[in-house]
């Protein structure tokens, strides 16, 4: 029965693999610089690694927005996000999985009467705006640097081509890792509070936590999406959407990967906090919008001509339409799940749980000020333990 509920997350993972991975290897495969099989294998492996090793950061932020604590609720929320993505894709409207899942979680909050953490919501929406801007900034700088160095490098054109291929492969691996780390929250984040998996120990070697097992499942779904459907999307990206030179493609993928990594890396957050620097919020962001931002960065680096304002308009309208549509679908879906299919979409929250959640919030605040003495992993394990209290 548990597997049935996880199906909507698995479907969301599959569609992420089918669509978003084209942003990483689309140009490389479309121009035949890298074979699809190589791209698919590298993507699948590194998405799994990124999701399992670094996926918790962005998931934690989604959990603060709304802790969907019943598996049927998680199923409905993930399904609402998946339907939104599928429907808007069919209508050829720009859609971001990250924005859809946020809207669906807010829909659950409205349905169950749970409060929406406004600070977290503001943080999330700010990153949606920041993501393409940051990607543009990175792409601008990296492209300028590359164009300054490359003509002076005296490397043979054919050798440049082979370095470019290797570069696309390495940066693609990094991009896949960042995608897994950042976007696994979209796929499996809503299932974390109602996680059916328990920790798995492999003798003294290592332990795979319940959350990591959930992420592994989601990452495998992404991998299946890559192998089964992403080829035609990659060809579309490579041949129709972006007419990029291989060098420009490398810059775009690198910029996108850096941005996704920045918004997913707990290690970086810890390092910044320990040095008294402002931290980067760990939030799932749209890889497609990061790519669009990076391309605009390159256009600006070339002189700023040819920016398609229509595309920009579509991207920014998506920030509003996608979460709203997802919230409405989520609300309606939850109504049917609860009243028609008689499924429990929310666990009742008692005062003890509220106090424990409050304590968790305090612990988070304490974490930022004395980070060296605070083990984040322990913090999350405490939450998992608390969930088991009847």
């Amino acid at each position: 029965m548990i597997w049935l509920y996880l199906l909507s997350g698995i479907f969301l993972g599959w569609s992420l693999g089918a669509n978003d991975t084209a942003n990483i290897f689309g140009t490389a495969v479309g121009t035949r610089m890298i074979r699809f099989r190589t791209a698919a294998i590298v993507t699948a492996v590194f998405v799994v690694l990124g999701a399992v090793i670094s996926g918790e950061g962005a998931t934690h932020t989604l959990g603060k927005l709304g802790a969907v604590n019943a598996i049927a609720g998680s199923f409905t929320v993930a399904l609402a996000a998946a339907v939104t993505v599928a429907w808007m894709t069919k209508l050829k409207l720009p859609v971001s999985t990250s924005q859809a899942i946020v809207g669906a979680i807010i829909g659950w909050n409205f349905f169950t009467g749970s409060p929406t953490d406004i600070n977290t919501l503001i943080k999330i929406v700010t990153t949606w705006v920041l993501c393409p801007l940051l990607a543009a900034a990175f792409a601008f700088v990296i492209y300028k640097f590359t164009m300054a160095v490359l003509p002076r490098s005296r490397v043979h054109l054919l050798q440049q081509d082979s370095y470019n291929r290797v570069g696309l492969l390495l940066v693609g691996a990094f991009g896949a890792y960042s995608l897994g780390a950042n976007n696994i929250a979209n796929v499996m984040g809503v299932f974390v509070p109602a996680n059916p998996f328990t920790d798995l120990s492999f003798s003294t070697l290592f332990t795979l936590s319940g959350t990591q097992q959930l992420f592994l499942l989601g990452a495998i779904a992404i991998g299946v999406g890559v192998f089964t459907y992403s080829y035609r999307v990659m060809l579309t990206v490579g041949n129709d959407l972006f007419k990029l030179t291989p060098v420009a493609a490398l810059v775009v993928v690198l910029s996108e990967s850096i941005v996704l990594f920045l918004f997913a890396s707990k290690g970086l957050e810890t390092w910044l906090a320990s040095h008294g620097l402002p931290t980067i919020p760990l939030v799932p962001v749209s890889s497609s919008q990061a790519v669009i931002g990076a391309i605009i960065g390159i256009v600006l680096a070339k002189g700023g001509r040819g920016i398609n304002m229509k595309v920009l308009g579509k991207v920014s309208s998506g920030w509003i339409t996608t979460p709203v549509i997802a919230a409405v679908i989520s609300f309606i879906g939850l109504y049917f799940a609860q009243n028609v299919f008689e499924q429990k979409v929310v666990e009742p929250i008692n005062e003890t749980r509220i106090e424990i959640q409050h304590q968790n919030t305090q612990i988070d605040t304490l974490k930022n000020s004395i980070i060296d003495e605070f083990d984040l992993k322990k913090n999350i394990n405490i939450k998992d333990s608390i969930k088991m209290i009847p």
């Binding site: 121009t31 003509p151 005296r154 490397v155 030179t245």
Partner: protein
């Protein structure tokens, strides 16, 4: 990955060899014209055979390079330009072999007073060819210097026009048959057209060089 880099090195060497053959063709042409004008028939015929062999080998090598670029899907963005450049260089090499053949077949009468001008015209045209090859090599390894070489080709082409005109003026003011004048005129044109073809290659090259960094 090491295999990929080895393949690339091998292809680089092939392209270099091809360009070397074009330069060799120009050198053999210069020698051939010199021996023709000095009436050293055996040396001339030997240069003719050598230029035919060089031209044929260059054709085979060019086809191999083209095939490899497409089958190994190398340099997808610049592949069309590179192949176009190699084929344009081949036209210049063909022109040198063709012109030498025409000297061999038609055995034109050359006025003694214009022989030195013919030698000078040949030198200038072959220099244009050599600068053209240098420009194409720069396209692959040192894009910033392509323009310098293209400039020189244009200067040589302009100079070849002047010398060709000088030859024609002297020939048509001389006291020989009209048929001989026309014959000499066309041979001056054939030699001059080598520099013209080299300039056409450079026009194409300058666009390809700009495209590389768009």
């Amino acid at each position: 990955m090491a295999v990929l880099f080895k393949k690339i090195k091998n292809l680089e060497a092939q392209i270099d060899n091809y360009l070397d053959m074009v330069v060799k063709g120009g050198f053999l042409f210069k020698q051939g014209i010199k021996y023709f004008l000095e009436e050293q028939t055996d040396e001339f015929e030997s240069r003719l055979v050598s230029i035919d062999t060089t031209e044929s080998d260059a054709d085979n090598l060019r086809r191999k390079i083209e095939k490899r670029l497409y089958t190994e899907t190398l340099i997808p963005e610049s592949r069309g330009d590179v192949l176009g450049l190699l084929e344009a260089c081949d036209k210049v090499l063909n022109k040198t072999a063709e012109t030498l053949h025409q000297f061999s077949v038609e055995i034109p009468f050359i006025l003694p007073e214009v022989k030195n001008f013919y030698i000078e015209l040949t030198d200038i045209s072959v220099s244009a060819l050599e600068e053209m090859v240098a420009a194409v090599r720069s396209y692959f390894t040192d894009i910033n210097h392509v323009r310098d070489h293209i400039n020189k080709v244009q200067l040589y082409e302009s100079e070849s026009d002047k010398i060709a005109e000088k030859i024609k003026r002297i020939v048509f003011r001389s006291d020989i048959r009209l048929s001989q004048k026309m014959h000499m005129r066309y041979f001056a044109l054939h030699i001059e057209s080598i520099a013209d073809e080299a300039e056409d290659v450079c026009d194409r090259l300058s666009i390809a060089a700009v495209k590389r960094f768009i």
